[in-house]
Symmetry: C2
Subunit: 416 residues, 2 copies
């Protein structure tokens, strides 16, 4: 089965909002084995919406639209679908009552009129209930093809997809279709080119499953995608490829799918009964924030200090004044002293620290923007890494925090 997705809304064409709906719908369709070859966005314009729907119907079995179902004159979708399919619009009494009761409850003036507008559907179409809003959606069929229309509000659309649209599509497909499943291996400590060199034969010689590299803000991932008759079959196809990649990349693979580095770190520390502490200067709380995103992190993290000023480095972390004076706050010596200080203050098993220059100003020839030292301290030793990062202030903070978490992860993997 082939589907196309049409997003309707002038705000999308003005770039005022990012279209997350289309990605969501495409992902859910891929998971049940429906192919999508085109996605189109048009504004709140009746003629262009009619043309886009008619075009899509000429190529696909199912057309899914989002947006343009509201009560205003500008909302073109109901009319556009009816025209593109050659069907008259009728009012669904059930949808009208639903909209009117919600609108009246919210104290909306002219609730009746708005409700009628939002309850119009092509003749013969089935309404799709909207638990979270006033506008009903619908599924209209004609000549073996279908148009499914949902509102553009993401929460409303998702509710309708899950409760009604996906079950409809599954039953329409019967058992003929396959599924597409994928697994993402998350990697750190290697650049894209180095990962590609390691797995080049897997990237280019395979058609099912395929292996594709992805890059996001300095992080490299490999996605293994399998097309099969059932989820179990797809998983069985993915497993040996995953094992092969893990064999080649070793500790550089820190997790899968939605895992973040901090998930791997908290899991690893908790599994070994270790606690950590954090002292941040250049990352300014970001490492603590990342770690505390992980449920259960209180078992491993007791104390994190953001010591932006030299006084805080001295007084809270016990960095000696003469070390600050001789080497400057951005130095290997201060990074190590910060890590040692927070290790002691937090009575932790292992501690990491960061100090550096995130910019945009504050750099010099000797200590440029992007220079970062990551300190590591445990009861019997210390270590330090010097990084030269690039990017905006936000990117430098992000990259430094990731590198620090990765150093901690590798240290624990090696030592404990």
């Amino acid at each position: 089965m082939r589907a196309e997705v049409i997003s309707i809304g002038t705000e999308l064409l003005l770039g005022q909002i990012v279209d997350t709906n289309a990605a969501y719908i495409c992902r859910r369709l891929a998971e049940i084995g429906i192919d999508v070859f085109h996605r189109v966005t048009v504004g709140d314009n009746l003629d262009r919406a009619v043309a886009a729907i008619a075009d899509a119907l000429s190529r696909a079995d199912v057309v899914i639209t989002t947006g343009g179902l509201g009560p205003t004159e500008d909302d073109p979708t109901r009319e556009a679908v009816a025209r593109a399919m050659g069907l008259p619009l009728v009012v669904s009494e059930e949808a009208r009552r639903h909209a009117e009761s919600l609108l009246a409850r919210a104290g909306h003036e002219a609730a009746g009129e708005s409700a009628v507008r939002q309850a119009r559907i092509p003749e013969g179409a089935a309404t799709v209930d909207n638990d979270r809003g006033t506008a009903c959606g619908f599924i209209a069929e004609k000549g073996g093809k279908a148009v499914i229309s949902m509102p553009g509000v993401p929460g409303e659309m998702r509710g309708m997809m899950e409760s009604t649209v996906l079950p409809y599509l599954r039953s329409r497909m019967g058992n003929a279709a396959g599924v597409i499943l994928w697994k993402v291996l998350k990697i750190c400590g290697r650049g894209e080119a180095s990962v590609e060199d390691e797995v080049r034969d897997l990237l280019h010689c395979r058609t099912n499953p395929t292996v594709a590299p992805l890059v996001s803000l300095g992080e490299v991932m490999l996605r293994i995608t399998a097309k099969a008759g059932s989820p179990e079959e797809a998983e069985a196809m993915i497993a040996p490829v995953e094992a092969e990649i893990r064999e080649r990349l070793g500790d550089d693979v820190y997790g899968t799918d939605d895992d973040e580095l901090q998930d791997a770190v908290v899991r690893l520390l908790a599994g070994r009964g270790l606690s950590c502490a954090v002292a941040e200067s250049v990352t300014g709380g970001l490492i603590a924030h990342k770690l505390t995103q992980v449920p259960g992190c209180s078992a491993v993290l007791g104390l994190a200090v953001t010591s932006y000023s030299n006084e805080a480095k001295r007084e809270i972390l016990g960095v000696p004044a003469e070390v600050l004076e001789r080497h400057g706050a951005v130095s290997r010596e201060v990074a190590i002293a910060m890590a040692k200080g927070v290790l002691a203050r937090g009575r932790a098993d292992v501690a990491i620290s960061t100090t550096g220059i995130a910019g945009p100003s504050g750099g010099s020839a000797k200590k440029p923007v992007g220079l970062v030292f990551v300190g590591l301290a445990w009861r019997r030793g210390v270590a330090c890494a010097r990084l030269s990062l690039f990017g905006t202030r936000t990117e430098i903070k992000e990259r430094a925090a990731r590198r620090a978490l990765d150093l901690l992860r590798r240290h624990v993997l090696r030592r404990w």
Copy 2:
């Protein structure tokens, strides 16, 4: 001038990534008065890419593509543009050298071959330099129309848009076109319904400028959009509407456009020569992270402590053991003691603190997930707010951090 935007990439059609590029390009085009009536996404498929480009060229003066410029066989864009425009592909020597030197530096095998693939452009096209990556873009013209192709990596695409593509489009348009400008007023401390009640007459009775509400993770914004002959004229149309809204909403408007609450807070503290300190439990470093996103924040923030454990609350912040014992870590008393403690330790003018339950577990009937206390301390007093937040762990942290920053902002506005 009319433009269309085509996003090329199978990953987009599988919903594996969200297309932020198209929104960015549309926004920048709208700002200089270029109309976009269609946006299309196709996969890495040569025939469909050719058809999409040819279709778009039949409707628009300029077609902008992103994605599909990489070195692999799968990347169809160079070939597709050449076919759709009826031009042969040639190798740009300059682009080849750029790609080869970057690839060789990264230790890439077969750098020469990859470089040649990424340096191919339609004959007669101008290359668009890519400061951040190996693949050049290009601007190809024929018969009064143009196709502009850029990579899909957002940072690379944005750099090329700003440095080359927008100046090219501006010079191509001359002074004929109008502009669409908008200004977003950022609001906190009020729900959407309350904001709408305050400005309902502005939302529904205006056509130019228009006023529209936006909501994102509990934050409400109002966008004023004006269409005019020049940026100056549009700004003059926006100004009185902005003044009217500010008059009605007062301190609830904390900033405009890309301003975040932390920008408003740092600006306010710096302007009054005040310093702040932060003690976080439930927000786990997020407030510090937000504040340190703002360049120059070191002038106002010296110390932030994430005291996740009771020991850290006692030992670093001086929260009395009997207060922790009697009231529990999630209590008004502990929030206030944390704020007082970090105020003293950081020698700051004002301090905020958070303690609460972010979930997903750890809640009880008396202290449910989402219960948060925000403490505030200054030299001559203390205050505390009790919040009942909802959402995921991430959302609770985010909402608690925002509310804490907003309480700090309002306190400083009132007292200093």
